[in-house]
Amino acid sequence: MSQSLLLKMELRSNPETLGVVRDALGKLAETLGFPEKECRAVVLAVDEALTNIIRHAYQGKTEQPIEASFRRIHVARDGLCRPALEIVLEDRGIRVNAEQLCGRALEDIRSGGLGLHFIRESMDAVEFRRRWGRNQLRMVKVLDTADPAKGS
């Protein structure tokens, strides 16, 4: 699987910076050729993931480190090699219960559960793991092009 790093951000757990990340990511997704609706989906997923890191992993503390990396990758889908955007977010906050990625019932409208629901609905793959004292969230959005060879 080929990978190329497109963008890396070193962020702080400050809610005020979320708008800056959304604007940059929206531009990146647009540049990669994602349709407008898919750009919004990617932006929503990353925004919600960062929100969860700030609220849960760092329990609202600002100035804590978050690393965000964005790579162009290729994934197998329907027997074809498809271009995709891989997003990895890493934080050094408290361990997040991986079961939370299942989300809560929608009737429970607290934003934490709703945010996880948004992430899962917006992305094609969502994986969480804890390693070396860090939480790592990996998300993948496949770029559906009419001719996959053109999207690479």
Partner: protein, 111 residues
């Protein structure tokens, strides 16, 4: 940056909201909506979301809280002017049907 201003129209208050409703700004949005409903006891609160660029789950949670407050108090909460992005987020939450939503301010006020 979120901005909220209020207009009175008979027994209706229209809150003109502009900017992004996210983790940083949703507390202010929630406070403004709940103030109209719980403290000022406005019979009908209309949220003008025409200039809202983005809403996240904390914004949706604030909307739901305002809706619950309006139901508890026997008042009404009506939204209008949702752009594609805001509408998509509400659809994704599967909560869009619980809200009264119109396309225009005239429709919202006439309801």
């Amino acid at each position: 940056m979120l901005q909220i201003s209020a207009r009175q129209l008979d027994k209706t208050t229209i809150l003109d909201v502009s900017g992004d409703i996210d983790l940083a700004s949703s507390p202010e949005f929630r406070k403004a909506a709940l103030r109209e409903l719980r403290e000022l006891r406005t019979p009908r609160v209309v949220l003008n979301l025409t200039a809202v660029r983005y809403i996240d789950s904390s914004g949706v949670a604030s909307l739901v809280e305002a809706l619950k407050a309006s139901r508890d108090l026997g008042s009404r909460l009506i939204l209008f002017g949702l752009n594609s992005g805001v509408r998509e987020v509400l659809q994704l939450s599967k909560l869009i049907r619980v809200f009264e939503i119109t396309d225009t301010e005239e429709q919202a006020v006439a309801r």
